[in-house]
């Protein structure tokens, strides 16, 4: 570590942290899940409107550090309009990027690549992951009809 701070807090991330997207609450969401990292105190709520297999609208409300807030905001931007299948692939790619591995099936990440810097800060990986895990758990619960008792990445 030391002084490669700007690698973590890249401009894109700082922009999402200061002006988080997708904060507005959804009326009648199809998918809804809460995530919580009690050790950090981070809390997140992800809600989706799904239409013909695509994410029509999304809301991400997050209380947490810059990394978890930015990651949630970038998630909102990245998956709007995508099919559920594409969303899953993106999420898998993000996980791979964060733990410094290669994804099985690589997809274009665009702005999301800024999250790559987090993998040099192992203790912060769980912050960046929280929104994604909460999203995927929520989708799975929705698909299988099984409730999920809240998500966590701690």
């Amino acid at each position: 570590m030391g002084d490669n701070l700007d690698d973590l807090y890249r401009d894109i991330i700082m922009d999402h942290y200061k002006y988080p997207r997708g904060k507005k609450k959804l009326e009648k969401a199809d998918v809804k899940n809460e995530g919580k990292n009690p050790v950090c105190g981070d809390e997140i709520e992800v809600s989706l409107k799904v239409n013909s297999g695509k994410v029509e609208d999304i809301s991400v409300e997050c209380i947490g550090c810059a990394i978890s807030v930015a990651s949630g905001s970038m998630l909102a931007d990245a998956i709007r309009g995508k099919t559920i299948d594409e969303v899953k692939k993106i999420a898998a790619n993000i996980k791979a990027v964060l733990i410094g591995e290669k994804a099985e099936e690589a997809v274009e990440l665009g702005d999301l690549e800024a999250l790559e810097g987090v993998n040099k800060f192992p203790v912060r990986v769980k912050c960046a992951l929280l929104s994604w895990t909460t999203l995927i758990d929520g989708l799975e619960a929705w698909e299988t009809g099984e409730g999920k008792n809240g998500s966590t990445t701690e």
Partner: protein, 428 residues
Amino acid sequence: MKSENTGGTILREKREATAGFDPEAIMADFPILTRKIGSNKLVYLDNAATTQKPTSVIEALNSYYRVMNANVHRGLHTLAEESTAAFEEARRKTALFIGGVKSEELIITRNATESINIVAASWGRKNIRRGDRIVLTEMEHHANLVPWIALSKETGAELAYIPIDSQGVLDLENIDSIITDNTKIVSLTQMSNVLGTINPVEEIGRIAHAAGAVFLVDGAQSAPHMPVNVKAMDADFYVFSAHKMLGPTGIGFLYGRENILNSMEPFLYGGEMIREVRYDYADWNILPWKFEAGTPNIAGAIGFSPALDYLNSLGMESIRDHEKKLTAYAIERLSEIKGIMIYGPKDIESRGGAVSFTHGEIHPHDLATFLDSRGIAIRAGHHCAQPLVKKLGLNATARASFYIYNTNSDIDDLAAGLAEAWRYFGHG
């Protein structure tokens, strides 16, 4: 400030402090302080989590393994005898350090957490029933919360908490309705690891004993930082960890009043803690070994000896004095910074050197990461006191905590870093 008629005392303390405290010399005794973090020198302000170790402690470990290493107590050969003598000498020294208790009353454990667990499990299971009350305070560390929550769940006993006021000081106004006749134990920290608050343990001990309760004091944060006398506070149990007071990791202590320890069942069973074992029978060794099963952390105990020597040579009064000055300076400097909010008492006499704060909207985790990039090590989070931090209306705080090798210059670095963080995270 104190009134004039205590001037003599103040003067004497000042002289001691000056005599004992040569920051340059002390820093030279701690090899890690020459370390660089990236291109910055290390500014270590995470002492409430664990402290750094002087050369004498590192060398004692080194030399233990190089010339003396052997298992203790059962051996008849020279190495075993030497190891046993050094191990028991560390116990004796520690017993002296906390006010001259008997060696038999001092159990060597893994850490303060285990020490409290021994009391909750061995003393608690035997003495606590449904309808009994366990009294804690709102500022306890998880180590002095979770064992009691588990015991209360197991036994049906109720938990009651002495509240804190807006300054983070215990509010004793309704103490008589909290420490009631059905209270079996009152267990509290002598110094908060979040707020810095020093609690009036003598007073609470008197109230606890008057109610017929047993009295446990968690000294994890106080034993390292101020003179401690277990007898004066009349504690039935006193716990602390070596790693928070210059010593090695993996070593802690449980002081217990002899008659109470004798009345308790052992906590761990195995070698060393027995007197006689048959296939269907076992009885126990005398104190303190009754509570020490298996091969102990021999090197850890022996390595703690020079840590105590180091603290004694500075003098605990002087250490307390040094930290008071640092804490006053830290509160002064941090208060000047826009956005900073400090928690815990502002009166230096009633607090130690753990200073928790928040910095506007900046999340404490981001603050810690930012300061780290400048070489400054602080802690951020709930500090193993989730309920307290929640009670403050927060999810996390940032915390700077001081020890003997810290100086005003460390605090200047911290203040500069915090001011810069304000700009970095877009509030400038």
